[in-house]
Each structure stands twice: as C-alpha cells, then as structure tokens.
C-alpha cells in the first residue's frame, strides 16, 4: 500500500520532470508543422511543411549556419590542438608547478564569455595596428577573431577531456616504442595518438557544440560573419516565425540521430568484443568468427533504423503533400466565423442604438458603421503584436483559439517571453 503509493509518486515525479524537460521541445516541434504564422501548437489548423521551405529560403539563416559550421570547424581544430598540447604539457611539467599550471590553463572557463570576446577584439585590434594592417586585414576578420575568441575557453574544455584520458596512459608504452627503435614522433603517432583517439573525438564534438551555440563571445567578434546564434538573436528582435521552430526541430532530430548512432556503435563494439572472447583460435585466425549483425541485440540500432525510416516517410510525404486545400478551408471558415461575429456585433449595436434612440431623441451619428472583421479583429491579431515579417495575408486569428480548454497554458503565445 505504502510502497505502491511511493512508486506512484516516483512515476508522477518522473512524468513531471520529463514534461518539464521535453515539453517545450515537443510544443516547439508541433509549431513547426502548424500553419499559423506565429508559432503556435493550438489551435491546430493545418499540417504544413511550408516553414521548412521558408527556412531553406531564408538566406540569412542559411548564411548563419554556414558561418557557424566554418567557425565550428576552425574552433575544433584549434581547440583540440591547443588542448592536446596543454594536456601533454601538464603531464611533463615539474610536479611542483602542476597545480599552478592547471589553474592557469582552466581559468578561461571561469572568465565570462563577454570579457573574452571584448579582450579578443581589443587585443587583435592592437596587434593589427601594430603590424600596420588595414581594417579589412585577416587579423580583423570576423572569422579569424571568432575562432580565436571561442578557442580561448573551448581549448580549456578540450584539455580537461584529454587530461582525463592521458592520466590513464602508461608512459612505459612510449618508452617501449622508443626502445624498439621508434623516433619520438613515431611513438607519438603510433602509440599515444591512437590511445587518445576516443578522447580527441569527444573533445572535437564538445568543441564543435560549444562553438555552435556560443553567443556571448561571438557577439563581439563576428564582424562580417554572423553565426547562426547571432542571426537568430537578431531575428527574434523582429518577432519569430515557425521557420525557427523548424530549424530547432531539425537540430533536435540531428542530435537524436547522432546520439543513437553513437549508442548503436558502442553497443556493437561490445557485442563484437564478446564474440571475439568466445571465439576459438582457429576461428580467429581463419576469420571465421561469427560476428553479431548490426541489429541483433542492439536496441539503439533498432531505434536508429526506425527513426531513419520515419524521417524518409515524413520527407516523402512533404514532397507530395499540399496543405493548400486545408488552408483555404480554414480561411473560409474563419471568414464565416468573423462574418457571423460581425453580424452579431452589428445587431447588438443596432439594438443598443435603438435603446439609446428610445432614451435620447437626438441619435448620435453612427461611428464605425462599416466595421470590418479586420479593424475589429486587429486587437487579437498577433501580427500586430509581433510585426511578423511577410505575414501571408491578414490571418485573423480568432480569439476562440486562446480560450481553449487549456486556458492558454500550452499556447506558445503565453510562452513568448521565454522563447525570446
């Protein structure tokens, strides 16, 4: 009794926790497929893929993505190299200096990104002037400055990841390689580097993600090369469109894809190792080991395949599906509703006027007689609030939507403040 209550509360807690964690993502994903031009999940109007095509036609977003990827790649290379050098140095340095060195090298993580951004800008501007180059030299290019600025602290992250692996390295392995005739470079390349490879991969992914999402530092250094985060921030200032939800949805899907691929690969490696352990000598040398298939006993791989199929199906539908009919219907319906309302309002006013006329002998001149749905509904039109750029026609969003049974809790309009 008590126990089942406890179990129940654990489940409820988990449900709330995951709703808190994933709810916004789910809502956002839904808005990417809903036709209203302000991102909203309710009322559900029409399934549409137009926000995806809007996204892929938005040159600023696309350019931002391109810049983010270029800068991310540059940051990965620079940060992993500096991180590896820092990590190797840490193991070589005189033990008494090690703690101090460590503090110095991870300090950039503790310094606010804004400070790093400003100092990078100022520092390289000085250098640029000292060298006597013009304002459009490489040293003052946004690409160069952003990569450098981001790397100042991302290199520290990389170093932490690499140091953790390096601490498990047995220096006797390098000595063994030297002893067998290898040069220092060969020992590094053939023994230490392969050992570090998993950590280098982790550090590279970490560096790329950190670079991709960085705003604080980049905002001072981007110059002519606005990254995706910069573009998004600038866009949101003029109101958001479901195209941004579409972008976020794509990013979420890519993340899930990457995570599942990784998980599936790890699981497969485990299975292969287990198979090798059980294999006999003859099987090993003859290459006759029965290795498990990619999908057998691999839940992550199964999910991955399911997700891939789902993606193909959705993309396939998107190419043939057209929401035009639905949108026209909805528009028609809205128009009728608006007309009805206008009609009712007119009737009410007429009645009021009659009442007033009954009270006052001299009736006032009727104001706003030809009340259109537009001037009336304008108050409720989110376009008016949001200045949504290029809103397709006046889509009077009926107030009924906001009065749905959920009391607007899940209405992104209500969440707007956090979205920005």
């Amino acid at each position: 009794m008590n126990l089942s209550f406890l179990r129940l509360s654990v489940w409820i807690y988990l449900a709330i926790f995951f709703a808190y964690l994933l709810g916004p993502l789910v809502i956002m994903a839904v808005t990417a497929f809903n036709s209203p031009s302000f991102p909203s999940a309710t009322p559900w109007e029409c399934l549409t893929f137009e926000w995806f095509s809007a996204l892929f036609q938005d040159t600023r977003i696309l350019n931002g993505i391109k810049n983010s990827i270029i800068i991310g790649a540059g940051t990965v290379v620079l940060s992993v190299l500096m991180g590896l050098a820092g990590a190797l140095m840490l193991t070589q340095i005189w033990p008494k200096l090690r703690a101090t060195y460590y503090t110095v090298i991870i300090a950039p993580i503790l310094i606010p990104g804004v400070v790093l951004g400003i100092s990078t800008l100022v520092f390289w501007d000085r250098i640029n002037r000292m060298v006597g180059l013009g304002p459009d030299s490489v040293l003052s290019s946004g690409l160069f400055l952003t990569i450098l600025g981001q790397s100042t602290f991302i290199a520290s992250y990389c170093m932490l990841v690499l140091v953790a692996r390096l601490q498990r390295y047995d220096t006797a392995l390098t000595e063994a390689a030297l002893d067998l005739g290898a040069t220092h470079a060969q020992a590094f390349r053939k023994v230490l580097l392969p050992f570090m490879r998993p950590a280098i991969a982790s550090a590279a992914v970490l560096a790329f993600l950190a670079s991709f999402e960085n705003y604080n530092t980049t905002t001072f250094t981007f110059g002519e090369y606005p990254t995706l985060t910069i573009e998004l921030a600038q866009k949101v200032r003029y109101g958001i469109s479901p195209a941004i939800s579409a972008l976020a949805f794509i990013i979420v899907i890519l993340t899930v894809f990457a995570a599942l691929t990784n998980e599936a690969a790890i699981r497969r490696r485990e299975l292969v190792a287990a198979a090798r352990r059980e294999a006999t000598v003859a099987e090993l040398s003859g290459g006759g080991v029965k290795l498990p298939g990619f999908l057998s006993g691999n839940a992550a791989a199964g999910l991955l395949v399911a997700l891939a199929i789902a993606t193909i199906v959705v993309v396939g539908t998107a190419t043939v599906y057209s929401p035009d009919q639905c949108i026209t219907d909805i528009r028609e319906q809205k128009r009728i509703e608006a007309d009805l309302r206008a009609e009712e309002l007119r009737r009410k006013r007429d009645e009021e006027r009659k009442l007033k006329a009954a009270e006052e002998p001299a009736p006032a001149a009727p104001t706003g007689t030809g009340t259109s749905s537009g001037s009336f509904g304008g108050v409720f039109d989110p376009n008016a609030l949001q200045n949504a750029p290029a809103a397709p026609e006046a889509e009077a969003n009926p107030p009924a939507g906001n009065n749905s049974g959920f009391g607007g809790v899940f209405d992104p309009n209500a969440l707007k403040g956090t979205d920005n």
């Binding site: 030297l178 002893d179 053939k190 040398s285």
Partner: protein, 370 residues
C-alpha cells in the same frame, strides 16, 4: 640472430637529487651470457637497466655496449631491447602487430611483418593467436609476447626487468626454463633483473648481488652461494644461519671466532675477505641449514654447536629443526629425508656439527632483512 655483445659498466654513478641510486658500479658482462642483477626491491636494479637501455643518463661513469661508449646515444639507437616490469604491450594493437612493431617503424610491409610475427609466435608456442588483443591473453602468454616483440627487433642485448614477478608460482618456474632455453637458442646477451634468488641461481651464468645501490659481489651462482663476499650476500641468497662474535685467532684462511653464544667456532674466511680479518675484529660466521648435522649430544669442539630445540617441522624432502640462536634469531637445521625415523626433541638441548669448509667467516656487517 645477432650474436650477443658484451656490456660494461665503468664507475657508474646515478643520482636523483641528493639520493644516490647507484654507487660506483663496475660490471663486465660477457657477450652471450645470461647475467642477473639480484637484490631487494628498491636497491637500484631498474635504475641500472634504464641506464643501459638509454632512458637515463648516468651521473658519472660510462655504459659500454660491445665496447662502444653509449654516451649521447638514445634508447632507439641502442642495440638493446627492454622487457618492462609491466610488459608495456600496446593495448590497441593486435598481438602480431605488437610483435612486429619494430619492423613497422622501419617501414616493412604488412605481409613481411605478418610473416615474421608468425615465425616468432611459433617460437613462443602461440601459433594462431596473432589476431587477438593483448588483453585477450593470459599472463604467461602476454609475457611471451613481450619477449617475442623484443626479439623481433633483433637486439644484441635483451634486458629483462623482473619479467616473472607478476606470474603465479607454477608458471614462474616453467618460464624460468623457457627463458633459459630461448636465451641459449638466440645466443644474445640477457641482462636479467630479479629479487628472487631462486630465479637468479637457476638461470644465470653470472650474478651481481646488489644492496642499496652498491654491488656487493659478482660471480656465478655456486660462488655466490658457497663463498659469499659480504654478510648481505650471505644472508640474502638462500637461507643462512649467522653466528656473531670476535676474531680470536687467524691462520691463513682459517679463523677461530669467539662466538656470543656457541663458544669458539672454527671457520673458513670467505675468498673475498682473506687477509682482511684481524684478531679482535667483530666477525660473522654463516653456516647453511643443510651444512649442519646432528651429532652426539654433549660433544664439544671448534666445529660443534649446542642449543635448545624450540620448534620442528616436516617439509617433505627435509626435516627442519629450529634452535635458539644468536640475537633472537633461530638456528635452522635441515636434515634430508632418507626415510629414517625421526623423534621429536622439542625442548631438549642438542648438538650439531659442521665441516669447517662449509662455515664461511667474514667481517661483521649489514644483514639482509627478511
């Protein structure tokens, strides 16, 4: 296979800061020999080996390999291969890639490397295991892979740092024979490090006994065992009973010692100490447990010892009797088991005799701590 070359250490000193790890070592190792450094943990054995393989520069003195001074020659340029105490097999490479690593460095093709690796795998009785990872092998197998990897580099000198210490007893004894066989087959110089006197005695042509950075004695196993040069060598190599006292009379290589507990004892001065003992000096006499035998109780003389039996044990091939000895130490007597009847004498006083040539005397000094 390349022939073994000699290794010489000349006045070798190695210091770490103020700490002297190796003090004035002078060793001449003949080419093709199986040479062991034997000493307790921390006495500087690994340090000497690292100086020979080139990972450590001597503070003073020289290392000569094949007569050539190795000063300034890096570890990858020396004709030595080292088997590390923890083996240091490359964990991410397959067994055959490990073995052929030295060829990969020189740019040999994969086919050549595979062929050589398979030959060596056959030699170490691991045919067909080349595609495994080192972690998939047992301790003894890994041991042999490490040896094969070192031999693949065709060194003139193979250096082994306590290679058997991680193995269990059975395997250790088996590997002793195997190592000795490999050494005789390839004919190169082996320099072997161990703290196990059994290993050193069974395998080596020559042994250096080390104590705290100092080489006490160099000689073949028999010499070290029968004619130790220092109290440390006498007590570290094999079991030994020590009798302390003062020199009463010296004549040639015979010395009469007034012992603390057992009266006057006659002994042979160890070869290294002939002429170094004077009347009145503190002395030590060492007699091995198997060199003592029971005598008629109450017999007295300069090669008889009487003491009270405190304990007895049966070890299969020998009966051991422990008697009250000098300085809290017991005197151990080992009587070979010929199937004779054996009565307990616990608590009684018994008399032992020995041959004077089996009692080795030398100036008193530091004993090995058990």
């Amino acid at each position: 296979m390349s022939a073994g070359v000699g290794v010489d250490l000349e006045n070798l000193w190695i210091r770490f800061g103020d700490f002297v790890a190796v003090r004035d070592a002078n060793v001449n190792i003949k080419g093709g020999d199986f040479f062991s450094f034997l000493g307790p943990s921390g006495c500087g054995k690994t340090t000497i080996l690292r100086a020979v393989s080139g990972f450590l520069d001597p503070s003073e003195g020289n290392v000569l390999i094949g007569g050539k001074n190795m000063k300034g020659v890096g570890p990858n340029k020396r004709p030595t291969a080292l088997i590390f105490q923890n083996l240091a097999l490359f964990p991410l490479m397959k067994v055959w890639e490990n073995i052929a690593f030295s060829m990969e460095i020189k740019g040999a093709s994969a086919a050549e490397r595979r062929k050589r690796a398979d030959e060596l795998l056959e030699m170490i009785a691991l045919e067909g295991q080349g595609d495994k990872l080192p972690s998939e092998l047992s301790g003894g197998q890994r041991q042999r892979v490490a040896i094969a990897r070192a031999l693949c580099a065709e060194p003139h000198v193979l250096l082994l740092d306590e290679p058997l210490s991680a193995l269990d007893l059975k395997l250790r004894q088996h590997m002793r024979t195997e190592l000795r066989e490999i050494q005789q087959r390839v004919g190169i110089t082996f320099i072997y490090i161990t703290h196990d006197q059994g290993e050193a005695l069974t395998m080596s042509d020559s042994i250096a006994v080390m104590r705290a950075g100092v080489i006490d004695q160099i000689g073949d196993g028999k010499t070290i065992y029968n004619d130790p040069a220092t109290p440390f060598a006498a007590s570290f190599v094999g079991e030994n009973n020590v009798f302390r006292g003062k020199v009463k009379q010296v004549s040639g290589d015979r010395v009469l010692v007034q012992s603390n507990r057992s009266g006057e004892l006659l002994a042979r001065v160890s070869t290294a100490n002939v002429g170094k003992m004077k009347e009145g000096d503190s002395a030590m006499i060492f007699i091995r447990p198997e060199a003592l035998e029971l005598a008629k109780t109450g017999t007295e003389g300069d090669h008889y010892v009487s003491a009270r039996v405190v304990n007895e044990e049966f070890e299969g091939n020998v009966f051991n009797i422990f008697m009250e000895g000098d300085g809290g130490k017991e005197i151990k007597v080992s009587l070979p088991n010929h199937g004779q009847s054996f009565d307990s004498h616990k608590g009684e006083t018994m008399t032992l005799r020995y041959d004077v040539k089996n009692a080795v005397a030398m100036p008193a000094g530091v004993l090995a701590t058990e």
